[in-house]
Protein backbone atom coordinates (compact mmCIF):
# COMPACT_ATOMS: atom_id res chain seq x y z
CA UNK A 1 0.00 0.00 0.00
CA UNK A 2 1.69 3.15 -1.24
CA UNK A 3 0.93 5.81 1.36
CA UNK A 4 2.68 8.56 -0.55
CA UNK A 5 2.60 8.68 -4.35
CA UNK A 6 4.38 10.69 -6.96
CA UNK A 7 2.71 9.87 -10.22
CA UNK A 8 5.09 11.71 -12.52
CA UNK A 9 8.43 9.92 -12.85
CA UNK A 10 9.94 12.82 -14.74
CA UNK A 11 9.46 16.51 -15.51
CA UNK A 12 11.30 18.81 -17.88
CA UNK A 13 11.18 22.60 -17.41
CA UNK A 14 12.92 25.50 -19.08
CA UNK A 15 15.35 27.53 -17.02
CA UNK A 16 13.66 30.52 -15.41
CA UNK A 17 10.19 29.03 -15.52
CA UNK A 18 8.23 27.49 -12.66
CA UNK A 19 8.66 23.82 -11.76
CA UNK A 20 5.72 22.14 -10.05
CA UNK A 21 6.23 18.74 -8.47
CA UNK A 22 3.20 16.88 -7.18
CA UNK A 23 2.57 14.35 -4.46
CA UNK A 24 -0.61 12.58 -3.32
CA UNK A 25 -1.15 10.80 -0.05
CA UNK A 26 -3.75 8.47 1.40
CA UNK A 27 -3.48 8.94 5.17
CA UNK A 28 -5.33 12.04 6.38
CA UNK A 29 -3.62 11.71 9.76
CA UNK A 30 -0.14 12.67 8.58
CA UNK A 31 1.19 15.43 10.86
CA UNK A 32 3.67 16.90 8.42
CA UNK A 33 5.24 16.43 5.03
CA UNK A 34 8.73 16.91 3.71
CA UNK A 35 10.50 17.26 0.38
CA UNK A 36 13.95 15.90 -0.32
CA UNK A 37 16.24 16.45 -3.26
CA UNK A 38 18.71 13.87 -4.53
CA UNK A 39 21.63 14.23 -6.90
CA UNK A 40 23.19 11.13 -8.53
CA UNK A 41 25.58 9.20 -6.28
CA UNK A 42 24.60 11.31 -3.27
CA UNK A 43 22.15 10.82 -0.45
CA UNK A 44 18.89 12.78 -0.41
CA UNK A 45 19.05 16.22 1.20
CA UNK A 46 16.22 17.81 3.13
CA UNK A 47 14.64 20.71 1.28
CA UNK A 48 11.50 21.95 2.99
CA UNK A 49 8.70 20.73 5.24
CA UNK A 50 5.14 21.71 6.05
CA UNK A 51 2.95 21.05 9.05
CA UNK A 52 -0.52 19.67 8.40
CA UNK A 53 -2.00 22.72 10.14
CA UNK A 54 -0.64 24.99 7.41
CA UNK A 55 -1.44 25.21 3.73
CA UNK A 56 1.74 26.93 2.59
CA UNK A 57 5.37 27.19 3.55
CA UNK A 58 7.91 29.24 1.66
CA UNK A 59 11.69 29.22 1.73
CA UNK A 60 13.38 31.32 -0.91
CA UNK A 61 12.64 29.91 -4.35
CA UNK A 62 10.87 26.90 -2.86
CA UNK A 63 7.23 26.86 -1.76
CA UNK A 64 5.24 23.86 -0.65
CA UNK A 65 1.45 23.92 -0.83
CA UNK A 66 -0.80 21.53 1.06
CA UNK A 67 -4.39 20.80 0.05
CA UNK A 68 -5.76 18.59 2.79
CA UNK A 69 -9.18 18.10 1.25
CA UNK A 70 -7.55 16.71 -1.89
CA UNK A 71 -4.76 14.95 0.05
CA UNK A 72 -2.31 16.60 -2.26
CA UNK A 73 0.86 18.58 -1.85
CA UNK A 74 3.04 20.30 -4.37
CA UNK A 75 6.49 21.83 -4.48
CA UNK A 76 6.95 24.97 -6.55
CA UNK A 77 10.39 26.14 -7.62
CA UNK A 78 10.54 29.67 -9.00
CA UNK A 79 12.60 30.52 -10.95
CA UNK A 80 14.00 27.13 -11.93
CA UNK A 81 17.78 26.92 -12.27
CA UNK A 82 20.01 24.24 -13.88
CA UNK A 83 21.27 23.25 -10.41
CA UNK A 84 17.72 22.24 -9.50
CA UNK A 85 18.00 19.25 -11.83
CA UNK A 86 17.69 16.29 -9.47
CA UNK A 87 15.25 13.66 -8.22
CA UNK A 88 12.70 15.04 -5.76
CA UNK A 89 10.99 12.90 -3.13
CA UNK A 90 8.03 13.77 -0.97
CA UNK A 91 7.79 12.07 2.41
CA UNK A 92 5.52 11.78 5.44
CA UNK A 93 5.62 9.95 8.78
CA UNK A 94 4.98 6.24 8.34
CA UNK A 95 1.49 4.90 8.98
CA UNK A 96 2.43 3.34 12.28
CA UNK A 97 5.32 5.64 13.06
CA UNK A 98 6.03 6.05 16.71
CA UNK A 99 7.33 9.44 17.71
CA UNK A 100 10.19 8.42 19.93
CA UNK A 101 11.86 11.42 21.52
CA UNK A 102 11.47 13.45 18.34
CA UNK A 103 12.48 10.73 15.90
CA UNK A 104 10.02 9.22 13.48
CA UNK A 105 10.34 6.99 10.43
CA UNK A 106 9.28 8.40 7.09
CA UNK A 107 7.64 6.90 4.03
CA UNK A 108 8.80 8.25 0.70
CA UNK A 109 7.23 8.59 -2.70
CA UNK A 110 8.86 7.05 -5.75
CA UNK A 111 10.48 10.32 -6.76
CA UNK A 112 10.22 12.68 -9.74
CA UNK A 113 13.26 13.40 -11.87
CA UNK A 114 13.34 17.12 -12.65
CA UNK A 115 15.42 18.34 -15.57
CA UNK A 116 15.95 22.05 -16.07
CA UNK A 117 16.83 22.90 -19.65
CA UNK A 118 18.99 25.97 -20.37
Amino acid sequence: DQQVKQNSPSLSVQEGRISILNCDYTNSMFDYFLWYKKYPAEGPTFLISISSIKDKNEDGRFTVFLNKSAKHLSLHIVPSQPGDSAVYFCAAPGPDARLIQGAQKLVFGQGTRLTINP
Binding site: Y32, T45, F46, F89, A103, Q104, G111
Partner: protein
Protein backbone atom coordinates in the same frame (compact mmCIF):
# COMPACT_ATOMS: atom_id res chain seq x y z
CA UNK B 1 32.17 14.27 11.65
CA UNK B 2 30.62 16.90 9.44
CA UNK B 3 28.24 14.52 7.72
CA UNK B 4 26.90 10.99 7.77
CA UNK B 5 29.60 8.63 6.59
CA UNK B 6 28.91 5.24 5.05
CA UNK B 7 31.30 2.50 4.07
CA UNK B 8 31.98 0.90 1.75
CA UNK B 9 30.63 3.15 -0.99
CA UNK B 10 30.36 0.18 -3.33
CA UNK B 11 30.19 -3.52 -2.65
CA UNK B 12 29.94 -6.40 -5.09
CA UNK B 13 29.29 -9.76 -3.51
CA UNK B 14 28.42 -13.24 -4.61
CA UNK B 15 24.98 -14.63 -3.95
CA UNK B 16 24.91 -16.45 -0.64
CA UNK B 17 27.69 -14.45 1.01
CA UNK B 18 27.18 -12.21 4.04
CA UNK B 19 27.81 -8.47 3.89
CA UNK B 20 28.20 -5.80 6.53
CA UNK B 21 27.51 -2.14 5.88
CA UNK B 22 28.66 0.60 8.19
CA UNK B 23 27.24 3.98 9.10
CA UNK B 24 28.82 6.78 11.16
CA UNK B 25 26.13 9.33 12.04
CA UNK B 26 26.67 12.99 12.72
CA UNK B 27 28.04 13.49 16.21
CA UNK B 28 25.24 14.41 18.59
CA UNK B 29 22.48 12.96 16.44
CA UNK B 30 20.57 10.52 18.58
CA UNK B 31 18.39 8.99 15.88
CA UNK B 32 19.78 6.76 13.13
CA UNK B 33 17.85 5.29 10.19
CA UNK B 34 18.49 2.75 7.47
CA UNK B 35 16.70 2.89 4.13
CA UNK B 36 17.30 1.25 0.80
CA UNK B 37 16.52 2.24 -2.75
CA UNK B 38 16.22 -0.46 -5.36
CA UNK B 39 16.56 0.46 -8.99
CA UNK B 40 13.68 2.60 -10.20
CA UNK B 41 11.95 2.62 -6.83
CA UNK B 42 11.53 4.98 -3.92
CA UNK B 43 13.19 4.86 -0.55
CA UNK B 44 12.17 1.88 1.54
CA UNK B 45 12.38 2.10 5.33
CA UNK B 46 14.33 -0.71 7.02
CA UNK B 47 15.04 0.14 10.66
CA UNK B 48 15.69 3.01 13.00
CA UNK B 49 17.34 3.60 16.37
CA UNK B 50 16.64 6.38 18.84
CA UNK B 51 18.75 6.68 21.96
CA UNK B 52 18.21 3.79 24.34
CA UNK B 53 14.71 3.00 23.07
CA UNK B 54 14.01 -0.32 21.39
CA UNK B 55 14.72 -0.03 17.67
CA UNK B 56 11.86 -0.03 15.17
CA UNK B 57 12.67 -3.05 13.00
CA UNK B 58 9.34 -3.12 11.21
CA UNK B 59 10.86 -2.49 7.77
CA UNK B 60 13.39 -5.29 7.69
CA UNK B 61 12.33 -7.47 4.75
CA UNK B 62 13.46 -10.82 6.17
CA UNK B 63 15.34 -12.43 9.02
CA UNK B 64 18.47 -12.31 6.87
CA UNK B 65 18.65 -8.62 7.70
CA UNK B 66 19.81 -7.31 11.06
CA UNK B 67 21.25 -4.09 12.40
CA UNK B 68 23.04 -2.98 15.50
CA UNK B 69 24.01 0.34 16.95
CA UNK B 70 26.55 1.01 19.66
CA UNK B 71 25.19 3.71 21.94
CA UNK B 72 24.58 6.81 19.88
CA UNK B 73 27.35 6.16 17.41
CA UNK B 74 28.21 3.67 14.71
CA UNK B 75 25.64 1.32 13.23
CA UNK B 76 26.14 -1.78 11.12
CA UNK B 77 23.58 -3.37 8.82
CA UNK B 78 24.22 -7.04 8.15
CA UNK B 79 22.69 -9.03 5.34
CA UNK B 80 23.21 -12.78 5.56
CA UNK B 81 23.08 -15.16 2.61
CA UNK B 82 22.62 -12.32 0.14
CA UNK B 83 20.20 -12.71 -2.74
CA UNK B 84 20.06 -10.85 -6.04
CA UNK B 85 16.96 -8.95 -4.90
CA UNK B 86 19.07 -7.43 -2.12
CA UNK B 87 20.90 -5.36 -4.75
CA UNK B 88 20.17 -1.73 -3.93
CA UNK B 89 21.65 1.46 -2.58
CA UNK B 90 21.55 1.28 1.20
CA UNK B 91 21.19 4.70 2.78
CA UNK B 92 21.84 5.67 6.36
CA UNK B 93 20.55 8.88 7.92
CA UNK B 94 20.67 10.56 11.30
CA UNK B 95 18.74 13.33 13.00
CA UNK B 96 18.65 15.35 16.17
CA UNK B 97 16.48 14.32 19.08
CA UNK B 98 13.79 16.82 18.14
CA UNK B 99 14.45 16.68 14.43
CA UNK B 100 11.28 15.16 13.05
CA UNK B 101 10.20 18.14 10.94
CA UNK B 102 13.72 19.22 10.15
CA UNK B 103 14.31 16.03 8.25
CA UNK B 104 17.18 13.63 8.26
CA UNK B 105 20.75 14.04 7.05
CA UNK B 106 21.56 11.17 4.71
CA UNK B 107 24.89 9.64 3.87
CA UNK B 108 25.88 8.98 0.26
CA UNK B 109 24.90 5.35 0.56
CA UNK B 110 26.44 1.95 -0.13
CA UNK B 111 25.69 0.52 -3.53
CA UNK B 112 25.34 -3.23 -3.07
CA UNK B 113 25.41 -5.51 -6.08
CA UNK B 114 24.76 -9.21 -5.60
CA UNK B 115 25.96 -11.32 -8.53
Amino acid sequence: GAGVSQSPSNKVTEKGKDVELRCDPISGHTALYWYRQRLGQGLEFLIYFQGNSAPDKSGLPSDRFSAERTGESVSTLTIQRTQQEDSAVYLCASSLRQGAMRGYTFGSGTRLTVV
